[in-house]
Symmetry: C2
């Protein structure tokens, strides 16, 4: 490597002290304008860049955020849910708009994803992203809280913990799906997705859906709910179970698009026509949803907005401000599958 220049080299060339160089480079108003321009010109000429390690060490903040993307341990290594990939994109953008760097890390749910990014001063705060069974993480979340780590989560609220989150209004999303399906005259709606606190987002969608069914005077048939977590395979299997169960159904609400895509495959293999015999609705609006045949009716979560809010909320916390949990409005996108 070439010899790296330091602020002392610049100070020497400019004939000023190193402190003045440091000030000039950060555009401190304390520095005479001519001096500042001269110093900045020399810095540019020498290709000088402030050493982030030294500056972070001294100032005790890194202007960096860490994104921890955690996944269900049952997921295989190859595929990340496209929904989170899209969130990752919007978070990256939101950070760079604010001059923050983003450290990305994947965590198996089993690992120490509470990690040490902030403890080790690599990041000023954390974003936690993933569909998740927060029940099993409770201990780790408590530890984060205990250490006064700055962090925001994406997802459903966790009861009894004072966590700051940004999430989709899943309950409302469930209502909109059920309303839509019922408006089309369907009466026997199956739900494919784990409906328990182990999948809190799905559970909220389920509760909203149940609420809407009852509002329309329909009874919720618990036999029409089949567990499935996050993946296309899980959706395929759940739909096969549904078909094998012999229960009558004329509509399916899949807890996420990947589940819907798996269900679609199962239905087609059984020569069940969509939407004629069965309406199918998903959740997330991943890119694939526009391309399935028939295209998938689903609930869009605004990932662009979500990324902005996550970053903004976290920065508020880092700066010592009062942050609060936000819910994003879901948006029903009607396509050909319903």
């Amino acid at each position: 490597m070439k010899e790296k220049s330091t602020s002392f080299d610049i100070a020497f060339r400019a004939g000023v002290s190193q402190s003045t160089v440091s000030r000039a480079l950060r555009n401190s108003p304390l520095v005479n304008e001519a001096t500042r321009e001269k110093i900045q010109a020399i810095a540019k000429e020498l290709n000088y860049k402030v050493d982030k390690n030294a500056s972070s060490l001294r100032s005790q903040h890194s202007d960096t955020i860490a994104l921890l993307l955690f996944e269900d341990p049952t997921n295989d290594d190859s595929a990340i849910n496209p929904f989170f990939l899209s969130m990752l994109g919007s978070i990256t953008r939101a950070c760079s708009n604010r001059g923050y760097d983003l450290l990305v890390s994947f965590q198996q749910a089993s690992e120490d994803w509470h990690a040490d990014y902030e403890d080790s001063n690599k990041a000023d705060g954390l974003i936690l992203l993933g569909y998740g069974d927060y029940l099993s993480y409770e201990e780790k979340l408590l530890k984060l809280l205990d250490q006064e780590t700055h962090f925001v989560r994406w997802g459903a609220e966790v009861k009894n913990l004072p966590l700051i989150s940004v999430g989709c209004d899943n309950y409302q999303g469930g209502i909109e799906v059920a309303d839509h399906i019922i408006k089309q005259g369907r009466k026997q709606v199956a739900f494919l997705g784990t409906a328990s606190s182990h999948a809190p987002e799905f559970f909220d969608r389920y509760k909203g859906y149940c609420h809407a069914l009852e509002n329309h005077g329909l009874k919720v048939n618990a036999d029409l709910q089949f567990n499935a977590l996050y993946t296309e395979d899980a959706g395929y299997k759940a739909a096969c179970e549904l078909i094998a169960s012999g229960e009558q159904f004329d509509a399916i609400f899949a807890a996420c698009d990947l589940i819907a895509v798996g269900a679609l495959r199962a239905l087609q293999e059984h020569n069940i026509t969509i939407p004629e015999q069965v309406s199918l609705v998903g959740f997330d609006d991943i890119a694939i949803a526009s391309f399935t045949f028939p295209s998938l009716t689903t609930v869009k979560q605004d990932t662009q907005l979500a990324g902005e809010l996550l970053v903004e909320t976290l920065l508020t916390m880092i700066q010592g401000g009062e942050a609060k949990t936000t819910l994003i409005a879901p948006e029903l996108v009607i396509r050909k599958s319903s």
Copy 2:
């Protein structure tokens, strides 16, 4: 924030010097085993984490890699090509498997994406990712080279520059597509994609395709090549131009899947049946390709392997080893559109 503990706190509690703590925490063989265990126990109890800024500053390496994802400036903000999102996923995994952190940054092609991650000591090296017009970046690449920055690129080779890259064998991919199409009896093959050094990956695919056509005694009809860059919209427009041109064609080779998806839409709007009237083949094998109707024949690039190779190559360079450019073998995936 709570009082953060330092290696001196641990030294004090353990009754040893701070140097010994530092050694024990990094599992130096110089430290007595009992001492080491005692120190590590105390560190754990105090929730102590080594300060990365201090340690990187002192040791002059950060065990961090920066990923610069750059995009064509014509792209709108909302969508990142799913292919790169998938690469991002595999790179993240490959880094974490090797104990490296990953800093992610999006760059507009117009910006200083040669950036200062390594200059500022935030990262030990760079991965450059993006379809790209390397011609216009040549100056920046030269600067990276000049500064002896450690970096690997994803993509096509750049003539006359000693760059280390990992890329797909796009030329071979083009050959396989053409062979496949011709084997099906098609003779008038259109190419949708910019065929110039401004899109080197596409150009290589085009050249392989031309080579194969000629090998089969077919003449390449330059009127059947329509420019298009990276996006579904561009594919849609190019296909519309092709249809409007009045040229006869019975197959389309789209330079990437997003272009193919756009072309598919255009063909369907014109009631052209696939694959009966026209065969359609893409490139990349993004997730969407399995879900279009009909599903898309395409060329798969192994993103898992690509991520591994990119990271491995870069680490070799960082460690002062001899790294070399690698090509990944493309794999034709035949589906229903051809």
